[in-house]
Symmetry: C2
Subunit: 301 residues, 2 copies
């Protein structure tokens, strides 16, 4: 048995067959096209078709989808912010028609990262954990009692849109002081440049300068780590979780980001049970979406 | 069938028999004694004995306990901050010996408030909700998917110890910027006096002055509501919950506190699914602990 996994993002749409040991095979990928909902669906159907061509559908346990959000689990629709052609797009119905007889499950991409890392990555054995993805934005997903906690609408786990600073910067979501408005790659770079950083306005350039000793660049990562750490301290306190798996391009900066996160957890987590917190690097890399999407099917209790 | 409910606080220990309709009968109560663990236990056993005297133990479905925290569900022990004689006190074992043959369940007092309000109070019908108690401190409890989410140690739901302000005031818990450090009755009164409020340093006096138009007193409640609202916005975002039931003595200030909470949720909740949030006044009053403790037994799936 295997699962068909579909990973839908604003940049690319990927599909693969994923086996219970977490191995990803028969991968197919296409750049996410601009245009109407049908155009995007044709691209998605194309990569699924390529995978189906290589496998025996009789052995398919179901279809799992990792998608940029927001989603609506009740309606079975997705409205990825970066895919304007899909607003309330009925992806579950479309997939049921394309892969007949197969169960279809969908979740947000960061939820799938958490589910995948719990199943076959750095979170194995942790029945209560959070996954966070620090890249252009800041995403998150929750595993509680061994299962994803997605809420009635499927959108639970948006750790990047917790406000940690009453007088913090405005966030693209409409809120104020969100972790994402302080700690995303985009926010780190913008803050650094605003504070005199002379290099390219990217988190990668800021990270390189920080490693070379640039004080503004170091301060930009310290500030980001402080926001993420405060959020993780609150999450540990409220959910009694003790492990976070962190991935995403900005987290590749390593200790530059992880050290201030740890210091911040120390500072903002006061209650004894919340203070034993372990930060782990994600293990699945770019496959996290596909593996997590498959886990929705293969790891379901 | 009924449940024996025990409500343990720093001020009083109460017990009662609670029926499936939520009615509380055969109530017994004693002031929490100072002294050793045995002294406190003797007081607790006394009120339980008084209840047992009045009921037919054969009809008892179990014993539920609402207790000041922290607790340790795995060990079955409690260490209420305000009861120094109980540190790691094995209450579950003691109750099993006192009420033989009965199942014993324990939870934090604010968790019990949430469970009770969900079962027979203002949260009926809401399978995803939070309960918050704003009094001397700020407590909280989570109902997720119709069940209390208490975490592995039993301490999940401590909404008062989420930090909402990176540069906020220090909290008694050891953290910084916690909701409790801004919005508890004690914090409201202290902030008001620090900012020139001339009345008695109690939240009740500040509320009375605010109703009479005192600008510092009004600002103290606005500030508290802002912190609570930011925390609720974050909770709505991460847990996909849309109802909060608010109780406790400070919440009795009504719109003085609730109006700034609502404004703050508007400000800090950016994502569409998190913005439809309903704040409800608690319905069970001082019985919330007993009813919630009973619900641990009678409402368990």
């Amino acid at each position: 048995m295997f699962a068909i996994a579909l990973d839908i993002g604003g940049t690319k749409i990927a599909a693969a067959a994923v086996w219970p040991d977490g191995s990803v095979r028969h991968r197919a990928q296409v750049a996410t096209p601009e245009g109407s909902g049908d155009t995007v669906w044709t691209a998605a159907a194309g990569v699924i078709g390529a995978v189906l061509h290589d496998v025996d559908i009789a052995e398919c346990a179901g279809v799992g989808v990792a998608t940029a959000g927001p989603i609506d689990l009740v309606a079975g629709t997705v409205s990825p912010v970066n895919i304007p052609g899909w607003r309330g797009f009925p992806i579950v119905d479309h997939l049921r028609a394309t892969v007949p007889g197969c169960d279809v499950r969908i979740a947000g991409d960061a939820v799938c990262m958490a589910v995948g890392e719990h199943w076959r990555g750095a979170g194995q054995g942790c029945d209560d954990m959070v996954g966070i993805v620090v890249s252009t934005g800041v995403g998150g997903g929750l595993i509680i009692g061994g299962r994803p906690l997605v809420g009635p609408s499927g959108n639970a786990g948006h750790l990047g849109h917790i406000s940690v600073d009453l007088d913090g910067p405005p966030c693209a979501c409409g809120g104020v002081g969100c972790v994402e408005a302080i700690a995303s790659g985009r926010s780190i770079a913008a803050w650094a440049v605003l504070n005199g950083f002379g290099g390219e306005q990217t988190a990668i350039a800021v990270a390189e300068a920080a490693r070379a000793g640039d004080t503004v660049a170091i301060a930009a990562f310290d500030r980001a780590g402080r926001a993420i750490g405060s959020m993780l301290a609150g999450t540990a306190t409220v959910l009694d979780v003790h492990v976070a798996v962190i991935g995403g391009g900005v987290a590749d900066a390593g200790e530059l980001l992880l050290a201030p996160i740890r210091r911040s957890i120390e500072r903002y987590a006061g209650l004894a049970y919340a203070r034993s917190f372990e930060l782990r690097r994600a293990a699945l890399g770019a496959d996290a979406g596909l593996v997590g999407a498959a886990a929705l099917v293969l790891a379901a209790p």
